[in-house]
Structures are given as structure tokens and as C-alpha cells.
Symmetry: C2
Subunit: 319 residues, 2 copies
């Protein structure tokens, strides 16, 4: 049983409280507090040493990334960041590491306006859980459920940068140092698309952040919306560094490796002009990579025919 099946099978039940607008199964849950002008978006992620980050990783990068993966979920809902909680399991209280971790954590918290409001500190294997809260106007949150046949599919920014950074750092791909630095930055310091997500409110019909790889995450939109998709590989936004490495690495780092923390979203044809209107405000760009179709599953085409990725997206309990 895989990670998603495990949650579905053991823990997913219909919510009973009337305040719960959206429960398990999206980038964030949505709560409607009685009388409130904004709904709450709530999301949480855990990072484990040796699984999500390397042993010996710089504290500041770990702190930054532990928050970034949660902020990215808020971005995918179109939510405005509000506050977060930090659960820190530490083998020992290492002052230098903690100060470094704190600096990375607060650098992003300050950049997006998140207050630390609580948490827990325990002795144990190095692990970080962060729970982030944001707000969004009632009924406006971008969920995974709204994609319809005929919608265009977009991604923000460039795909595969973090994956390529990972491959370069571990020596599996060779690139000039000038090309490596931006890739490492994308791997260690992803840029959650908070402003982009909020700008997509009223434009996108569905959205998700790309944490597990484009195919896996787009797959969640398709499943939640009950639709299929066709993607055109030639439209995939990749960097010059990626093009330089393409012969070695192929398209899998951009399609299935994950850790990009870009947004993947769908836009009904009539709202494509509105998307063009806001796109000029964002340097990352919004790239049309394909379309939603009736049916199920995702077909990826390149110039010659169908493309079959070598591996599936990242999944903790996949056999």
C-alpha cells in the first residue's frame, strides 16, 4: 500500500463538524469559522533526516525548506499566509545548529508574513513537522477538484531544477559550476509561489503544488476532478542547464522527481486572457503544457509519439 492509499484506507472519513469545508485529500484543509470573513487553510508536512534531507545538511537550509514545503501548500490553495506551528525532534540541543535552523526558518517566515504561534520540542531522531495556517475568501480556495475537459494545463516557473541539482550534487550529472549554483538554490531554497497562487484566485479551476513530481501531482488533480490530460513534452519549461543535461538525464527529472514546488493549475479557455493579464506581473512565467480531456489518466506526447517515464513520483510506502 502506498502513502496515499494508506491515508485513504485508514484515516479518511467524511467530516462531521459543519465548520470543516474540506477535509483530508487536498493541499490544505479548509475551515469556515462561524461568521468569519475568511476561511482558514491548514496544512502540515514532516521532514525526516536521511529521508527528506541529508544527514549533515545545513540547519538554515533545513529550517527554510521545512517551512517552504508547507508554504507551497498554502500557495496551491491561493491562501494568504497567517501563522505556523513548529514541532522539533532533536537528538540533542545543539546551539549552533538551532540558531542556524532558526535563521533559515525565519528568513522565509518573514518573507511571506507567517507568525510562529506554537509547537513542541522533544528529544528524538532529527525530524521537523510544521503546520501552517492561511486564510482565503470563502468559496475561492483553489482545490484539486475543479478541472474540466477543455481546460488548459499550466505550470509556473521551470521544472526539474531541484532534481537536476540533486543529481549534480550526488555526481550523477556533470555541469559547469556556474550552472550548478542556481540548481542547488532551487533544491535547498525553493520559492513557494504565494503571490502567484493568490493571483490565480478566480482564474484557475484547480491547482496543486509540485512536490512529488508533475505527473504524480497532476494525477491528483485528474483523480479529484474525474478527468484525464494530455501533455506535450516539447512545451515543458526547462532551463538551459536542463537542456545541457537532457541527453544524460532525459525528461524524468522534470516529470517525476519532484521537489520543484512550482504550481500546476488548470484554466478554463474563457479565462486564458485573464491569465495572460496577470502573467506579466510574475517573472516565473506560466507555461501551457497541455489540456484536460474527458476520461482518466495522463498521456504524455513528444514529437514522435507517447512518452513513458522511467519511474513514478516519490511515494514513501510504494512497494
Amino acid at each position: 500500500m502506498d502513502e496515499f492509499g494508506l491515508i485513504e484506507h485508514y484515516f479518511k472519513r467524511p467530516p462531521r463538524q459543519t465548520e470543516v469545508v474540506l477535509g483530508v485529500g487536498d493541499d490544505a484543509a479548509l475551515l469556515a469559522v462561524q461568521g468569519a470573513a475568511r476561511q482558514l487553510a491548514v496544512t502540515t508536512d514532516t521532514l525526516i533526516e536521511g529521508v527528506h534531507f541529508a544527514s549533515g545538511a545545513a540547519g538554515c537550509d533545513v529550517g527554510y525548506k521545512a517551512l517552504a514545503v508547507n508554504v507551497s501548500d498554502l500557495a496551491a490553495m491561493g491562501a494568504r499566509p497567517l501563522a505556523f506551528l513548529l514541532n522539533l525532534s532533536l537528538p540533542k540541543a545543539d546551539a549552533a545548529w538551532l540558531a542556524d535552523f532558526r535563521d533559515g526558518l525565519f528568513a522565509l517566515a518573514d518573507a511571506v508574513g507567517l507568525d510562529l504561534i506554537g509547537g513542541d520540542t522533544v528529544r528524538g531522531p532529527l525530524a521537523i513537522t510544521i503546520t501552517a495556517l492561511g486564510t482565503v475568501a470563502p468559496g475561492e480556495a483553489l482545490t484539486r477538484r475543479g478541472a474540466r475537459a477543455g481546460d488548459r494545463i499550466y505550470v509556473s516557473g521551470l521544472l526539474g531544477e531541484a532534481a537536476l541539482g540533486f543529481l549534480a550534487r550526488s555526481g550523477r550529472v556533470s555541469l559547469p559550476p556556474s550552472m550548478q549554483a542556481p540548481l542547488f538554490a532551487r533544491l535547498d531554497r525553493p520559492l513557494p509561489r504565494i503571490a502567484e497562487g493568490q493571483a490565480l484566485l478566480g482564474i484557475a479551476s484547480a491547482a496543486i503544488d509540485i512536490s512529488d513530481g508533475l505527473l504524480a501531482d497532476l494525477g491528483h488533480i485528474l483523480q479529484a476532478s474525474g478527468v484525464g490530460a494530455t501533455l506535450d513534452l516539447r512545451r515543458l519549461p526547462v532551463s538551459d542547464a536542463y537542456v545541457a543535461a537532457l541527453a544524460t538525464v532525459g525528461y524524468d527529472p522534470a516529470l517525476v522527481f519532484g521537489d520543484d514546488y512550482e504550481l500546476c493549475f488548470t484554466v478554463p479557455p474563457e479565462r486564458v486572457p485573464a491569465l495572460a493579464g496577470i502573467a506579466t506581473r510574475f517573472a516565473c512565467g506560466f507555461h501551457d503544457i497541455g489540456g484536460i480531456v474527458a476520461g482518466a489518466g495522463c498521456v504524455v506526447r513528444d514529437g514522435e509519439g507517447l512518452y513513458v517515464p522511467a519511474r513514478a513520483g516519490y511515494n514513501h510506502f510504494h512497494d
Copy 2:
């Protein structure tokens, strides 16, 4: 540096968002969503195998307790339970353990009306983080800050039951089996005082749940409120089993071992009649154990004089 110092030193900063009514440093944080008729109380706790529960502990007990420690924090704020998120780090996907864990978790969730709204499942050392949300009328939450000289100090239920259960299970105290069973129940299945906490709204001036031991947790009220306390050991509510073990274990299990998940709260003299009025609704009882005084720190007296506990409350990073 201890657990509390670590949070204060590295992570406590004044909140900037106007929605944050109460940040780091109480049983739960408080958020005021614009226009809402209720404030949100948010709390989180992490339980680690081998630290917070024994390796090999029954999944149902672990699931129950992981939620209970969070529900107890909501109780200490007088909040009504709303929803929770579950972060599960598992060495492997063990179906029998997961089903058992789920049953214990949902038994308590159903009893108090909490919806599971999200979470994360990762591969790693066995650890559970739960984040719980409740609601409370604006300005009514029971915090640690409101105790004043002259207030009486109360605890709900019996103290030291969980500690005695721990000592009995590990063979350090010998009791007849009929006396052990209720103690094990209190250790594995604490009863968060949700109804009691809500009934104390408008009566208690400050409140906390007893997770780290009465002296440590009352100490948090004293520090947050800028006051001191005197406790009378002879008034400490303990069970017949505790009295039977008193010669062996002394008062420390009731004062400093923790894991009771009872409430400790203060009541101004003029509201003591109101407390008596609601007390009849709760089988656990509310027990006057001393008074708040000007100054700082806690003096514990027994019949003969001052009592000095053998050890401090539980603290993960105490040297």
C-alpha cells in the same frame, strides 16, 4: 538549556499578524479570524517511540494518547474541539498496527467531536505529531496569565495515578491487581477534561493541563501571571491505591511525574461559589490545594513543614 528555555531563546518573537491573539507559550495559540464569532485555539504535540511511549506499546493506546495530550491542551483553554491533523512517521506500513492505532485515535476523536482534516505520512522512526484546533468565544479562553494573589488553586480529579501506573508496570511498586487496572487505564487512556474546561469559562482566572507534573505546570501559571503559590500537601487529591503506595513512593508521583492530564486552575475568591455550583456536574471533582500569593515560586507545606520534591518535572533537554 531546557525545553522551555530552548523555545524562548530561539523561537519566541512577538507576533505581527493582527489575527494572532496569543502566540508561543500557552497551552494553545489563539487566532481571531476577521469577523468570526469564535476564536481558534491551536495546539500541537509530538510523541516519539521510546521517549513518550514504550517500544511495543499497543497501537490503540498510542493513537488514543497522541490525540489525548492535544485534546487536554484544548481543555485547558476551555475550547470546544473542532478538528485535528495527523503526522505519522512509520518505519514500515504495518496494517495490523495501523488499524489498531486508528481505532484508538478515532475512539477519542469521536468521543470529543474532532474531525481529522489532514496530515502527512512519511517513512521514518515511529513518531506521531498531532495538531488540534478548537474554538472559544473571543476573550474567554483560559490562559496561564490571569492568576492573582488571593485566588484559590484547584486541580480536577486525582493526581499521580498515571505515575503510579508507570511505577507498577515497571515493577517499582507492588499493588494488588485490582488496584493496578485503573492506574494503567489512566496512564494509557487519560481523560482530557474537555467538558470541565468549558464549564470553567468565566470562573477560572488561569488554567493549564498537568502534563509535566503539578509543580512544573503550576509553575508556568505562576511565571506567566507574575505570582507565587503555597500548596498544602494534605489537600492533594490522591486515590486509595496512592495512599497504599505512599510509604514507598512518597508525594513525588503526584507532584512532579506528570502524565495526569488533569486541569490545574485558579479561581478568584468571589467566584468560588460559582465553581461549587458547577462542580456537582463533574464526577472528577475540583479540589482546593492551596492559594496564589504575591511574589514568585511555589512553597509546598505538609503537616510538619516544607516539602522538597526529589526531582523536577519532566523536561526533554534538562541537563
